[in-house]
Amino acid sequence: MANLGPADYSPYPVATYDGILTPPEGKALLLTDIVDEEVAMREIARVMLTSENATIFPGPQVLYAWNEEAKKKATLIKEMAEVLNAKMIPMYDYRPKYPKIDAEVEINPNHPNLTIWHNNIKACIFIGVHCHYANVALKIVRAETDCYTSAMCALSGHEDAMATIRDQHSEDLARFIQVAREVKQELGK
């Protein structure tokens, strides 16, 4: 049986019901607090480095080489995974997977909890997932699992992630990797 999150099976306690919305430009959201980007970056790195089976979920916007920025980001995400000692499981498209998802090798926005349950993932980063699909996935993960979710978004962020940083482009990912290296050294990981 799955480990349930604080909301049990109910999908209803989404963040906006508590008045929490996406962070303003230049800021990040850490649970209910608006914080500086660097504070959120450090916390994401700390959680990823100290949680079981930390995993990065790269989405279509960084999985396909559809522009130069996507190629740069993809390279940086591989580096990020190495620094965070994290696995990578791709969300390569958005179709619900019937009759059954192969939870070993992919995650899907319509039933992301299956992959998280199967792999016992306790911390994750969503990156390169189109915002609508990231939002529905994060709501399900929030409701159905005890996984700590982070969203590194190229646009306006995601209030249903436990940590979200917005407007993240390749130079910001490079900065995050640097922060993660520092945190890793501090933790002796």
Binding site: V14, D93, K139
Partner: protein, 389 residues
Amino acid sequence: MSLNKTLVSMEYLLKEAPREKHFITGAQAMAEAVKRASVDMAIAYPITPQSEVMHLVGDIYAQGHIKEYYRAEEELGTMSAIAGAARAGVRLFTATSGPGLLRGLEAIVSWPGHRVPCVLGVLTRVVNAPLSIQPDNIEMAYLLHSGVVLLHAENQQDTFDMTLAAFAITEKVDVYIPVAVATEGFFVTHAKGYVDMTSEELAFNEPDPYAAPVPAMDNEVPPARIQRDAPVQKSNFMSYLIHSVWQQEIWDSNKRAMKYIYQYLGGPIEVQNPDADVFVLASGCAAAQAREAHRYAQEEELSVGFIKVRAIRPFPKEEIRAALKNAKKVIIPEHNIIGWLATEVKAAIPNSGIVVDGPRVYGGMTLPVELIMEQVYMALGMKSETLQA
């Protein structure tokens, strides 16, 4: 843009660009906003009183302000075509009225879930038999639970500003659901008022289909070779969960629109005389009459305040609750029989007993200021000549 317009941000267009005063109808005001919005495509089916707007939009298409425009087969076809065009990542406008809105409603309620950004003009008219083309905003009640962002214009100026703002709000990545701009047919669409307009040389920046929460259906360019809204029709808990969070996401998007209503329109409500004992609260055309009642009351030195509600969805519950915190009565005049605004306000405040239902007019009737003043006098414990008679 073939007309060599200068493309600018909506912030500049609404708040900083120089304006000139024009004396135009509400239909002209809506079409003039469309002219400045770098619209890629307009699709519509004619119905009175919307036909005035879409006729004018047809004119501006012929002048080159819009890239594509066509008359669909009817409203369900219109609204379905809008959903299809949205998947290509283009900026869209349509408008309808009363029975046309209801005919298109099946497609309209699917727009938010499909993350269709578009602007829908709603030029209100009666919907029920016997057939009539007269103004009455009961059709807006059917949009309240559709998921779309719903703004209600008081006059021609609002129609211009709200329609322009709607194009920016609908495309915000954390909103990306349709924005409807409603105003009363005939009372606003066919009547002239002063409108401060920006130059038509200025137009809103063109849309960026890649700055979207869903991939555009460009089948030649990855990562778009993706089925976007696959059905989730399996009868199992997982399917129910998918649909429930999808619905939550629509309403979250609706809530997120509020910050942009503040940014572009100065907020969802306007309050005058906030310390008054009695308030007149209204939206749309009724707000114009309520504003006039407030002026009468000021002249008579009565303790009467005025609240205009600009945003019907997201509904400004907290703002209205705060504005009515110390009110003894709130009078809610409306242009419909059911009183959907009064119902919304009652649900928003803890002391719903202070709500005076009405006065309401419908079926095309006008809303004389005297009707509102009678309620004001009663709320203040005064006698009115009409009531005495």
